[in-house]
Subunit: 183 residues, 2 copies
Amino acid sequence: MDHLTEKMLSSEKLFGGRVIDLYLEEVELPNGKTSTREVVKHPGAVAVIALTSDHKMVMVKQYRRPMDRILVEIPAGKLEKGEEPIVTAKRELEEETGYTTDSLSHIISFYTSPGFADELVHLYLAEDLKVMTTKAELDEDEFVEVMEVTVDEALTLIQNKEIYDAKTAYAVQYLQLKSGLGE
Amino acid sequence: MDHLTEKMLSSEKLFGGRVIDLYLEEVELPNGKTSTREVVKHPGAVAVIALTSDHKMVMVKQYRRPMDRILVEIPAGKLEKGEEPIVTAKRELEEETGYTTDSLSHIISFYTSPGFADELVHLYLAEDLKVMTTKAELDEDEFVEVMEVTVDEALTLIQNKEIYDAKTAYAVQYLQLKSGLGE
């Protein structure tokens, strides 16, 4: 064992839910002492920077229960069991926005809350968007409103705390950087 | 009620921990049907982009139990009850890196996992770093190793998935953007 790694001594599943599972784990610290860790297990998710032909970002407004408020976010959703992230990305884009595309490229993946959860978000860029003739169905407990905004408008939404989550803030910065570099 | 907002019908606390609490909530959806939401409550956190005089980012390597691996992240930590985020930022910088500063400015705050958790991270920029003569103590179950990397080295760490979390990826992009704009 190196000077940073913890060794798991026991793991108790406290809750198994539709979205997350919760474990309470006892660990041996690098100095030989013990401690407990609260660990949320999540199936992973995708998020999509969807750019229209006039360079707008497709956003979804949706109510988020943990904050008890409506947020503006890039389209996103959980991985189904065994699903390739790029397949999830296409499906969530279709379900949430009514757009589809064959042009999806992976940008980056990142853990969202490494201190207590293993959620990994895979971020994709979607271009050459086409409006679907038959709109895909949202999940039955999902209600969203679609918006299209310029990067400048997105920056204003960040100022106003309507865009208020890490993946969407990352996405806006990504596009600022991409345009700033003249790509 | 608007066409997006859910109404909470009941909330059951399933777990109260050192870091997070877990609630199972029943909600009324905008269409009048009911559903359940799994909600993790977190006290909130800070993260710090700490820049040395030679323009390096101060990073901490630490083991993260949810992923069972070591990650390279910007210094970060949870808010103590009632603590102002800027106070937490200074404290975590001191404890984790041995640097201190009087120059801390707020960059942005964002929710990390709005689908299931209310964790809000407040991101600060720390400049004019001074080495502390007496190193502040880490929490007794915290073990970290400090690194200083250029933005280019950080981009390589992202490629190698050693930097693999949202706040640190955002921080690297922030500095790319700042330098690209000639600030």
